[in-house]
Symmetry: C2
Subunit: 162 residues, 2 copies
DNA sequence: ACCTTCTTTTGACAGAGTCCAAAGAAGGCG
DNA sequence: CGCCTTCTTTGGACTCTGTCAAAAGAAGGT
């Protein structure tokens, strides 16, 4: 919703060679305000915000924005793909086993160590490392009083406890 | 198919409190012989091997074995969940963008660096780090002669190029 | 303004995974 | 050894997520 970006959605879209259309601008804004949202969650957000859009369009837009690098998708095991704006600066993710909440974390040790495996047999090209930490958030690690692992956090849509 | 394990499937199942049944033993063996297999691929392997099993049973078994720690599931973005036997020794994964092949890689820098994020705001409990490197395997990075990125590797079932 | 090209819509479709109730094995106990 | 309880498996219908293909509709350059 907030449109206080350094570069406007139109500009950003144009820069990557995509036409500036309402669905794309809207998706960009909503994802920026709701990082780690799933396609389904996004559809709901768009719906309640009055921006009706066909399912196919949503998937088209997500695919276009992801392919051109404006969005990035992650898929923690057991969850549907989640989207986030591809901001500069590498960061990784922290996922709660209990409620599925995803939190950004700056890359652990600068850049190098995380990006180079000890050995890469048969893989001449390596361009990206994706790190996911698993644990329990404050709520879910609480002494079973507030909202333990058995009660999924409302912020997480359709989460399957592994 | 090879049953030359240090501990027999029956024993292993019993140790985690699961009854030793044919479907479970079979799944354990097949996954051991085919690391990074998807549920669908597993169903096919089981079928051709003559071990018929309902889809529901397969999912039940996978869920049970995963929950008890005998199997581990990973889900590279864009792929269905893949299963592997939870062998001792941390290792991570190397995924080819072209054909989807997944390869095991020993943990990059021993244990510590990869397992501790710079900061974990709101996450008191952190138990596991999952690292996935993205790149191109030898075949897919070849000078467009043998089997480039446009021709998915036969070993990969239903792969969507991102 | 016009025309080409790119986007969106619509509706049908495919695949993966889940829910539920009933039938069937495992294994403990007498 | 045989019964009984409990855990597993089966089968079928169903939901959800994502895809395909063709036609209608906007963007934007000339």
């Amino acid at each position: 919703m907030t449109s206080t970006d350094r570069t406007s959605p139109e500009e950003v879209l144009h820069d990557v060679g995509l036409r500036s259309t309402a669905p794309r601008r809207t998706v960009l804004e909503v994802v920026a305000d709701h990082p780690h949202v799933t396609a389904a969650g996004l559809a709901e957000l768009l719906g309640t915000a009055g921006h009706r859009m066909s399912r196919q369009s949503l998937y088209n837009v997500l695919e276009d924005l992801t392919r051109t690098g404006l969005l990035r998708s992650i898929q923690p095991t057991g969850s549907a793909p989640r989207y986030e704006t591809a901001v500069a600066g590498d960061h990784h993710h922290l996922v709660c086993r209990g409620c599925g909440t995803v939190v950004d974390v700056p890359c652990a040790v600068g850049t190098s160590p995380c990006l180079t495996p000890a050995q890469a047999p048969g893989f001449p090209v390596l361009d990206r490392a994706e790190v996911t930490w698993w644990g329990l958030c404050t709520d879910c690690s609480a002494p079973s009083g507030t909202s333990p692992a058995t009660a999924p956090h409302p912020a997480s849509d359709s989460w399957r406890t592994p």
